[in-house]
C-alpha cells in the first residue's frame, strides 16, 4: 500500500470579478515508503499548490476550494481537522521551501528554530532539545554546530540556511518529506551539495521524498518516479529511466530538448518551447498544451485527452504522442 495516495486532487481559486483559476485540476499520483517522487513542470503548472494543499497550508479563505483525496497512511489529509493537521505537520510530513533566507525568522536564533520542532512534537526538554539540535545541524553538514545554535539567519550563508531548514524538517524523522524547489535560490555549486544531502538523508532514514522542481536535471539524479505537470494536470508519469528513454508527451519532449547539452555543437541554438504558460486552452476545451504543441492535430481540440496507460506503468495524456525514439545503433 502506498504511503501517500493522491486521487484527483483539485484546487481552485475564485475571486470576485475575476475568472476562477484551476491551479490544480485533477492530479493523481502516489508515493511509496522510501520512494523519491518528482513533480516537474514550469512555474504556474500547479506543483507548488499541490504540495501546499497536501500540507493544509493553503490560505483558509472563502474563494479557495480543495477537492479530491490525499490518503496518507490511511487518513485523508484533506478532510483532517486543523488541529490534527497541525500534529501531522512537522512530525509525520515535513516540508522545505525555496528561499532559505525568507523562510527563516530573522529575529530568532537558529537554535530555537530547530529546538521548537523538537519541543513541539517530541516533547523534549530545553537541554535535551539543544543537544539534539546540535547533532542535527552536524548531521546536515553545518560546521561548528554548537556555535551556530546561537547565531541568527543573516549570519549564515545561503547553503547553510537551507541545511538548517532541512535539519528542522527531519528533526522528528517524518515519513514523508516534501521539497519545493529547494535549490533554486542557491548557487550552482551549493545546489549539488544540498541534493546530495537530501539523497543521503532519504536513503539512511527511509523517508519518502516528493521533489518539486522545474529542473529535469535535478530530477534525473534523484527520483525513482517522475510526474510531469502542465496547467494543473499530470501529463506524463513514468519511472525515471523509462521517462528519459521513452518520453511520449510533446511537453516532456520539449522540456528535455530545452536542456543545454555539453555535447551540443558550437553555435547550436537552444530550443525553447514555443509560446508561454499563458497561452493555454482550458482543459475542458481540449488539451491545454495544444497552443504550443508542434504535434497538434484536430483531435487535440474539443475534449481533454485522457491518460493512456501502458503495461510498464508509464502513462501519458496525449492523443498524438511523440514516437518512441529509435534505439541507437551500437557500433
Amino acid at each position: 500500500m502506498a504511503l501517500l495516495d493522491v486521487q484527483d486532487l483539485s484546487v481552485t481559486f475564485a475571486r470576485r470579478g475575476q475568472r476562477t483559476v484551476h491551479a490544480v485540476d485533477g492530479v493523481s499520483f502516489s508515493v511509496d515508503a522510501g520512494e523519491v517522487v518528482g513533480l516537474v513542470g514550469e512555474s504556474g503548472c500547479g506543483k507548488s499548490v499541490t504540495s501546499l494543499a497536501l500540507m493544509g497550508l493553503l490560505p483558509r479563505q472563502r474563494g479557495v476550494h480543495v477537492g479530491g483525496s490525499a490518503t496518507f497512511d490511511g487518513t485523508d489529509l484533506l478532510t483532517l481537522d486543523p488541529r490534527s493537521m497541525r500534529d501531522v505537520r512537522g512530525r509525520d510530513i515535513a516540508m522545505i521551501f525555496q528561499d532559505p533566507l525568507s523562510s527563516l525568522n530573522p529575529v530568532i536564533p537558529i537554535g530555537i528554530q530547530v529546538t521548537e520542532v523538537l519541543v513541539r512534537h517530541r516533547d523534549m526538554s530545553g537541554d535535551a532539545a539543544r543537544k539534539e539540535a546540535a547533532e542535527l545541524l552536524d548531521r546536515v553538514g553545518i560546521p561548528d554546530p554548537r556555535r551556530r545554535l546561537k547565531e541568527y539567519p543573516h549570519q549564515l550563508s545561503g547553503g547553510m540556511r537551507q541545511r538548517a531548514l532541512i535539519a528542522m524538517a527531519v528533526a522528528c524523522r517524518p515519513r514523508l518529506l516534501i521539497a519545493d524547489e529547494p535549490t533554486t535560490a542557491l548557487d550552482v555549486t551549493i545546489q549539488a551539495q544540498i541534493l546530495e544531502l537530501l539523497k543521503e538523508l532519504v536513503r539512511d532514514s527511509g523517508t519518502a521524498l516528493i521533489m518539486i522542481t522545474h529542473d529535469l536535471g535535478v530530477v534525473a539524479g534523484m527520483c525513482d518516479t517522475i510526474n510531469v505537470l502542465y496547467a494543473g494536470k499530470v501529463v506524463e508519469t513514468a519511472r525515471r529511466k523509462e521517462l528519459f528513454a521513452n518520453r511520449r508527451h510533446p511537453y516532456t519532449v520539449g522540456l528535455l530538448a530545452s536542456i543545454p547539452r555539453l555535447d551540443a555543437g558550437r553555435g547550436e541554438k537552444l530550443t525553447p518551447i514555443r509560446g508561454s504558460v499563458r497561452d493555454v486552452l482550458p482543459w475542458p476545451d481540449g488539451c491545454a498544451f495544444a497552443p504550443r504543441c508542434d504535434r497538434r492535430v484536430d483531435a487535440c481540440v474539443g475534449e481533454p485527452p485522457p491518460m493512456t496507460p501502458t503495461h510498464t506503468g508509464h502513462e501519458y495524456r496525449c492523443v498524438n504522442p511523440a514516437p518512441l525514439p529509435q534505439p541507437k545503433e551500437t557500433p
Partner: protein, 321 residues
Amino acid sequence: MTLAPGKKKEKLERLAELSAVRDDEQGVSLWREAMRRLRRNPAAIVGASILVVFVLVAVVGPFLVPYDPVDQSGIREGVIKPGSIPGTSGDHWLGYDHQGRDEFSRLIVGARQTLIVGIVSTLIGLTIGVLVGGVAGAAAGLGGRWGRLVDSVLMRIVDMLLSLPSLLLAVSVAALLGPSLVTVMIAVGVVSVPIFARLLRGSMIAQANRDYVLAASSLGVRNTKIAISHIVPNSLAPVIVQATLTLATAIIEVAALSFLGLGNPDSTQPEWGLMLADAQIYLDVRPGLAIYPALGIIITALGFTLLGEAMREALDPKLRR
C-alpha cells in the same frame, strides 16, 4: 463530447490566435492607473466629496449667508444674558454665539478662513521643505564631495526642527512672533518643513540612483537639467499626497494654537479653530458653540486624510497588479 464542425473551427481559430506569441502589455501611465484606482476606492470618494462640499462652502458660502458674521445683533437685541445664550431658532438656525453674532453665518464664513489658513500654512511648509530637501537631495545625489557637505548641513538644520515635538515647536515660533493669524500660519508651516524636506530629499536620492538617470548622465546631459526635467516630475506624487495629509493636521494644529492663546486675539473674524477655542468657556451654557466648529474641523480633517491615504495607496507602485 465532440463539438459541432462550426464550433470546432472557432476553437481552432482561437488556438491560432493563442499560438502567436503575445506582445508585452502596454505600459500604463502611473497617473492614469492611480486615477482609475481612486475612482473605485470608497474611502477616496467619501473624502473627495467631503472636500468638494467644504471648498464649495468656503468659496461660495460667504456670499449666501443670512447675517453678517461680525454683527453683534444679539447684544443689541438684548437676548444675550450671562448664563443664557439662545440656541437654534427659526431666524438663527444655529443660534447666537457668546458675542451675539449669528453662529450659522460665522460657521460658514469660518470655513473659508479655515481653508485659507490650512492651505497657506501647508504651502509654507511645502515650499520651504521642498526647496531645502530638493537642494539637499540633488546635492547628495549629483554633487560629489561638495554636494555631500551641502546635504549634511541642510539636513542638520532640518534635524534641529525635529528636536522638538511638533506642537511645542509651533508654540516656540508663535510665542516669538506674537499672537496673530499670520503667526499661527507660519508656526504650523514651520512644523511641516522637515516632513517635506526629508520626503523630497529621499525621493531625489532614490531617483538619482536609478538607471535612467545614469543613462542620461552618461549621454552628457548636464546635471541640473537632469535634476529638473527628470527627477523632479517623478518626485511630485508623494509630495502631493503628503500635502493633502498635512492639510488635515494643519487645521487641527491651528485650532490647538488658538486654544493656547497664540492665535488671532481679535475674535471678530471667524475661523473654526478660534471659534472652538473661544467656545470652551461656554461649554455648559451652550455646548453647541464648541461642537459645531469642532465637527467642522473633524469632518474636514477626515476628508483630507481619507483622500490623502487613498491617493498614497493608489500611487504606490508596489501595489500594481
